[in-house]
Structures are given as C-alpha cells and as structure tokens.
Amino acid sequence: MIEIRWHSRAGQGAVTGAKGLGDVVSRTGKEVQAFALYGSAKRGAAMNAYNRIDDKPIINHETGMEPDYVLVIDPALAFTDNITANDKPTTKYIITTNLTKDELISQIPALQDKKDRVFVVDAIQISLDTIGRSMPNTPMLGALMKVSGMYDLDFFLESMKRVLAKFPQKIIDANMAAMTRAYNEVK
C-alpha cells in the first residue's frame, strides 16, 4: 500500500490531481482511492487530499494515514501546515517553492533531519510558464513520477492524455509540457 497526502489550497487542483493520479494508476491494474477533506471550505482555504494505491481492493476508509509521499503544492503551506504530521522514517516530501532546497529547509525546523527525503520543484512557476496560470497540480504529478519512480515519464504522459481528453488540445499540450518540466527540474 502506498499512501500520499496532498497539502493544497482549495482551487489549486489537489482533488483533480489526486483523482487524475488515481485514474492513471487504475489503468495499470492497481486499486486506488482518492479523496479530500474540505467540507464546505472556500477557495483559498488550506485543505488536504489523499491517495491510497494497492494491489488489492482498498477497504480502509479512515482519513488518517502515515504517508509515503507528502506533496505540498502551495509554497506557504510548507510553513503554516503541519506537513510532517504522522510521517514515517521513509516519508518523502515534494514541496513547491521558488527557494533552493537548502534555503527552504533552513527555514522549516521540522524538515531539518529529513534533508535527504525533501525534494523541491517550482510547480507554480512551471504552471505559469506552460499552462498560463497558477495550476500546480499536474506539474506536481510529473515531479512525483521522478521522485517515486512509479512509472516512466512517457507512459505517465500517455495515460494523462487520456485522463485530460475532455479538454482542448492546447490545454492538454500545456499540461504535458508542465509535467515534463517538473519531472526534469525536481531536485
């Protein structure tokens, strides 16, 4: 079982990202779960989304988890959310930021003993450059593919094309570019 926790603001696409990831994973014969905790939260409010991935049907419906990956798609939440809650000695962090990894870690005490498990990517800037607006969810998935090695980039991009099929070609192409850049730039 792989468990993933997203830290996001309502409107940044964490739910769509979690469901998109679920969609891709389901096409490889695995079972998935994608859900969010947002209640009646409004756009801009801090929220969490979650994924579970397993080889057998997922029947655990509790919202708590010890995540294998923590994905932070809003830069400020790395400072204000408890992003290390319920973590494990192996939990990996991918954080959206325009800071370098060292700059970021030096400002967040909770990450200082986890340096080798922290990865940074500027998913906001990448989405502005490629999609034309701040939409850090799909670039974060590109970064996750690199860090986790879950699927190779070409397979993942092809699968995401099908997930995004309802959108105009221009938007699909922009998302492909965003995921590719994040895959290459995460460190």
Binding site: K19, G22, S26, R27, F35, S40, N60, H61
Partner: protein, 411 residues
C-alpha cells in the same frame, strides 16, 4: 433515442458519479431535484446527461426538497420511471412526502448521501438522515463504497418496480467518505445495465385515460389500518424479491450482495455490526486482528429496511459478544442497531452479549485502530462472560468519558 456513453472496464468514480451513472443507464424519465451537499453532484451530473442528449428524460428544477419529492410522486403516479437525490436537511424536508410516496406504492428511487442533521450545521456524514427514514415505508439499501453505490442503484429500480413490490427504494451511501472518494468502479455497458433493469412497466398510471384511478385518497378509520398493514406486508415480502434481484445481479456481474452481509463470521467469537463505510474499515481491522489470534467478524445489514431480523439472528447467534455501532445520536435511548440486533438475538438460545457504540457523528473519523480497540473490548466481554463496560459508550468522543446503563447479567 438517447446517446450511448462508452465506459471503460474500470473507471475511477466517486460514489456520487457512480450513482448518477446508474440513473443515466436506467433512463429515468423524470428527476425532480433541489440539490444539497454532499449529494449535489448526482443530480448535477444527471442534468448534464439530459442537456447533452444521454437521457431522454426531464430534469425538473424545483424550489425545495418537499417540492422535489412531490414532483417525483406526481411523475411516478403519471406512469414514469422517477428518481432524485438528497441529503440531511433536504431529506428532512422530504419526509412528509416520503410517506406519501410509499403509501401510494410508487417505485421512486431516492439516492441518499448520508449527512449529519443540524443543528449545529455540518455538511459531513453520519446516519441521522438515514435513520429518520426508517419508518417511512421505503426499502432502504446501504452501499459501503462507490462500486456498491452504482450496483445497488441499478438493483433499486428492479426491486422497487417489481410487480410484487411496487414500493419506493432508497440507496444510501456515506457523505464524503463514499460520495466524494474516487475508487475503482467496474460499470456495466449501457445496454447491459438497461436490460438488467428492463423497460419501465407502469401500473395504474394516471396518464392511462381509459382507466381513471385516484392516488392519495382519504380513507379515515375505515380503511387506513388495512392499507398500512398491507403496505407493511409488502415491505416484509419484498425480502424474496430483493434476494432474487441480488442473485440475478451476481449472475450478470459476479458481484454478490445479501440482505445481511457477513465477513469472517464462520468461526467468529466477537463481532461488530455496522452500516456504511465503517463496515469496510471494521473488516480491515478484523482481518488484521485474526493474525493476532482474535476471531473477529463483521455483520452489516445491507437492507436497513426491510430489516433482516432472521438473517441478523443467524449471522450472530454463535458469537460471544457483539458491538453494535450506531452513527446517529439516539437522543435519550439506545441506538437503533443495538435495539434491533438485541431484539433478534433475544430470541436465540445462546443470547450473545450485546453492547452499543455511538460513533462518527458529523463526520468524526472512524479508524482501523478504533475498530481494533472495540473488537478487543468485545473479547474482554466474552472472556469475562458479561459486559465489562457500560452498555452504551461513545467512540472517538473528546472530553469526559460518557456511558449509560450497566448490565444485570453475570456480575
């Protein structure tokens, strides 16, 4: 003709979308709706199917849930296949008309996404609304995940519309935990799903002008009692039809449903009885505890109504201790599942120890660890030969420990 939708063998759907797809495949004639969180996406999606030509039906926007169910009653009496969705306060506003629908024997399908009832206001899930429907004369079927929300909504049409039943049917799912959680769902193709349910067969429809009928007549003392007793018998007798529809669905899909679901019960010593998504979390806990040597099992009434008094009794009569989990605040009494399970078990020789937990109100998380703790507590009851705690307790509640009533057995 409505357009067909190409579906993948495996889709990743949440419970709401799964239910809406079942309504589309049933080719519902009329949906009269007043959307409410967390069931909004069901009727929202249905509206989109109508607008995009995927359903040859009518989507009627009304001004309240009372009007929504009233519209459904009218359309069903006219002779159409009818459905809608609601939750919580919306369900409460529908209640008056729910009794009208069942009294008129109209096979409407209501997809209920269970949510806490105010006050205080809360959009998250518990079973307060589902429990409020339990005397309304509807068949109430409970789905524990998105796949089941889809499957059971299809089955609901076939059950309610059966000429031996002709009663309205609710299909429940948990707000957010099921309705907004996307999981692998294996849908049927459109033709297969529609053919399973079949073409709607009207009965005494008002639009048949060759044969005038009255719906909702006034009876007073003269016939009311006989009418209600007949309605109760129809709901009791629907058990056979439900079994048959579930068997046919298994034949078609391989997915098995029973009026009482049993997990690890063949040799279970201790059991949890629950409804909704907690059933699956408890299953997960039971599976883990079995590795520690605790023979834990889970029993779930798939049909909240008609209540499987006999099925519950057979499932539980050989266990030593049972915890009944109610996700609705009983307000001055024991929980409903406790009362109904206890009543069934009272008629057995061995009379297992039964206790009651209130849990998960307003969306409070129900964890695997908590399910394990409850199982272990049942084991302690079983080993002692009597309840070692108050009969009614509260799971996951902050503040001082709350409990009510002590057992008079075995102390």
């Amino acid at each position: 003709m409505a357009e067909k939708m190409e579906l993948n063998e495996i889709e990743v759907w949440d419970g709401n979308y799964a239910a809406s797809q079942a309504l589309r495949q049933a080719q519902v004639d009329v949906v009269a709706a007043y959307p409410i969180t967390p069931s909004t996406p069901i009727v929202e999606s249905y509206g989109a199917y109508v607008a995009n030509g995927y359903v040859d039906g009518e989507f009627v926007m009304v001004e309240s849930e009372h009007a929504a169910m009233s519209g459904c009653v009218g359309a069903a009496a006219a002779g159409g296949r009818v459905a809608t969705a609601t939750s919580s306060q919306g369900f409460m506003l529908m209640i008056e008309v729910l009794y009208q629908a069942s009294g008129m024997r109209l096979p409407i399908v209501l997809t209920v996404v269970n949510r806490a009832v105010a006050s205080p206001l809360n959009v998250r899930g518990d079973h307060g609304d589902m429990y409020a429907g339990r005397d309304s004369g509807w068949v109430q079927i409970d789905a524990f995940n998105a796949q089941e929300a889809y499957d059971l909504t299809l089955c609901a049409f076939k059950i309610g519309e059966d000429m031996d039943v002709r009663l309205p049917v609710m299909v429940h799912q948990d707000g957010f935990v099921t309705s907004h959680t996307a999981q692998n769902v294996k849908p049927l193709q459109d033709d297969v799903a529609y053919n399973f349910i079949g073409k709607y067969q009207p009965y005494e429809e008002m639009l048949d002008f060759t044969k005038a009928v009255t719906y909702g007549a006034q009876t007073e003392e003269d016939w009311h009692y006989e009418h209600k007793a007949k309605q109760h018998k129809a709901l009791m007798d629907s058990r056979d039809v439900i079994d048959r529809v579930f068997a046919e669905y298994k034949e078609l899909t391989g997915r098995e449903y029973n009026r009482v679901e049993k997990y690890f019960m063949d040799d279970a010593e201790v059991a949890i009885v629950a409804l909704g998504s907690a059933v699956e979390t408890a299953r997960y806990a039971a599976e883990e505890l079995r590795k520690e040597g605790i023979k834990a099992g889970v029993v779930a009434p798939r049909c909240f109504r008609p209540f499987a008094f006999d099925g519950i009794r057979e499932a539980l009569e050989n266990v030593k201790a049972v915890s009944t989990l109610d996700r609705s605040c009983p307000m001055g009494a024991m929980g409903t599942l406790f009362n109904e399970v206890s009543a069934a078990l009272y008629t057995t020789e061995k009379r297992p120890l039964v206790s009651n937990y209130i849990y998960g109100l307003g969306g409070r998380d129900f964890s695997v660890a908590e399910a394990k703790r409850i199982f272990k507590e049942q084991k302690a009851h079983a080993d002692a030969g009597h309840l070692t705690t108050p009969i009614q307790q509260f799971s996951g509640l902050r503040g001082p420990k709350l409990g009510f009533f002590e057992t008079k057995r075995g102390n």
